[in-house]
Amino acid sequence: MKEKILTKNFGLKNNYKIEVYLEQKGYQSVRKALKEMTPEQILEEVKKANLRGRGGAGFPAGVKWGFVPKVDKPKYLCVNADEGEPGTFKDRYIMIHDPHLLLEGIIITSFCVGIHKAFIYIRGEYEIVAQRLEQAISGAYERGFLGKNILETGFDLDVIVHRGAGAYICGEETGLLESLEGKRGHPRLKPPFPASIGLFQCPTVINNVETLSNVPAIILKGAGWFCRQGLPKDGGTRIFGVSGMVKKPGIYELPIGINLKDIIFKHAGGMKAGKKLKAVIPGGMSAPILRADEIDVKMDFDSLVEAKSMLGSAAIIVVDEETPILEVLKSLAKFYSHESCGQCTPCRIGTSWINKIVKRMIQGKGKKEDITAIHRLANNILGNTLCPLGDAAAMPINSIVEKFSEELESTLSN
């Protein structure tokens, strides 16, 4: 029997209020972690749970925490709530419907790594969500779950909500750090990785909202239980966000490894009336597109890599047969040329040229060499930039050019 880990309290009214959350036996996990476990035991449990990063990259959270060196410097936690990947809205749901679940994850993670200051970097557009978080945080301070000497264990932690100001690139972890330091969100060259040199040159853990929200359940129910909810090497559930041409767009918390077809046709109600499936973007806009005949695939990190796409943020965008593929390409090209931070030439110039070419094709002035030019430009971005935004632009654009070449060619004027 699979259980809900992240969305179990979503229907509950006023759950952001600490008294309501406590009635649901909230903060039990924090009590257990801080009072009955050592940081080493927590780390071991999270490692065994194979909790992989829900922001997109899928890096195991426990391993990431383990990289933090034992040095005599302040350490920081940055919660990545800069949810900007097109198609993605899951973290907004967690922060609105169960903000204390996230706070529990933050407290346990900070205790495990020896952190006394955590920042929640939330996208500026989510102002209402940020206010909700701040209400939850002040409740947690009042009841002694945050601040000095938490639960009389001698452990101190402050949490600060930090609003971004409209830049997709700040969801990239080193762009986020630069932004949090009061600069443009220009990603840093890695290595060094943030775990050793991060915020203000200090060791820093950066985790996505959904990733941290899984930690309380791992502590309460154990790594073995957590793995059984998903796959042995990819534990737990995912909140799949489905949008586009389906009957019931929304969020669905389902076991990792569930079939994409089932998510679309069973859970999201199938295609909108009279529409036929053409293609699916399975993991946020950065994920290479799948044709209708390719969607019989398991939704876990490794299976989607095998299918030459990626699970990313588990945001599923469903495209119907009537939508010209050129429209999808236009959205992609426009987005990445707008959001490229401008630091690396291949990405800054490449995305902008691709966008110009696609615009011309939309106007019916496309030439035969345009399709090869898009392909060539994308390949010149691929692997040639500091951060993954370049690849995130090139890979889905290439997938469309390769999989829908006939349709694209049919739009060309001669």
Binding site: P74, E83, G84, E85, P86, G87, T88, F89, R92, K117, R123, G124, E125, Y126, E127, I128, D158, I160, H162, R163, G164, A165, G166, A167, Y168, S179, L180, E181, G182, K183, R184, G185, F200, G241, V242, S243, G244, M245, P249, G250, I251, I281, M285, A315, I317, V319, D320, T323, E327, V328, S331, L332, K334, F335, H338, E339, C341
Partner: protein, 157 residues
């Protein structure tokens, strides 16, 4: 004429700065407060912010010109931001943008002469389950059609 921060905002800025391990890290929150106070970030305020944070004025300018939510010009009373990304455009965002252009008689990026509305197109707002969607100031509106837009705008005084 240099714009003056109200005493209340000055107090909030001080409080915000004190929460960060380094002053300059509070740049974005301080700029948000500045924008709340004046409706945009006046050029003179850039210098005041730089002084408060102990950074060079160019650092403040760099941030303002990088982040799309920070404005160097006065916006309309209501800033209508329509998502034009994929999930919304699949469900007709483009037609809604055209409708708003005709209704308000402005192009995206422009403000109506009475300074009531500024129209913008934006990238994904993170509300794709309610596509097509838009944000007016900080409020979200989803599952839009022309009729719904009419009634939302009619309620904005």
């Amino acid at each position: 004429m240099s714009p003056e921060f109200s005493e209340q905002t000055k107090k909030r800025i001080k409080e915000v700065i004190s929460r960060y391990p380094k002053k300059e890290a509070s740049l974005l929150p301080v700029l948000h407060l500045t924008q709340q106070e004046f409706g945009y970030i006046p050029i003179e305020a850039e210098r005041s912010v730089a002084e408060m944070l102990g950074v060079k004025p160019i650092r403040v300018r760099e941030a303002i010109t990088f982040y799309t939510m920070l404005h160097r010009e006065k916006m309309g009373k209501y800033h209508i931001q329509v998502c034009s990304n994929l999930s919304c455009s699949l469900l007709g965002a483009e037609k809604l943008i055209d409708y708003l252009r005709e209704k308000l008689k402005v192009e995206p990026g422009e403000t109506t002469p009475d300074k009531k509305f500024t129209l913008s197109t934006v990238e994904c707002l993170g509300a794709c389950e309610e596509a097509p969607c838009m944000q007016i100031n900080f409020d979200y509106y989803g599952n839009l059609d022309k009729k719904k837009i009419d009634s939302i705008l009619a309620d904005l005084k």
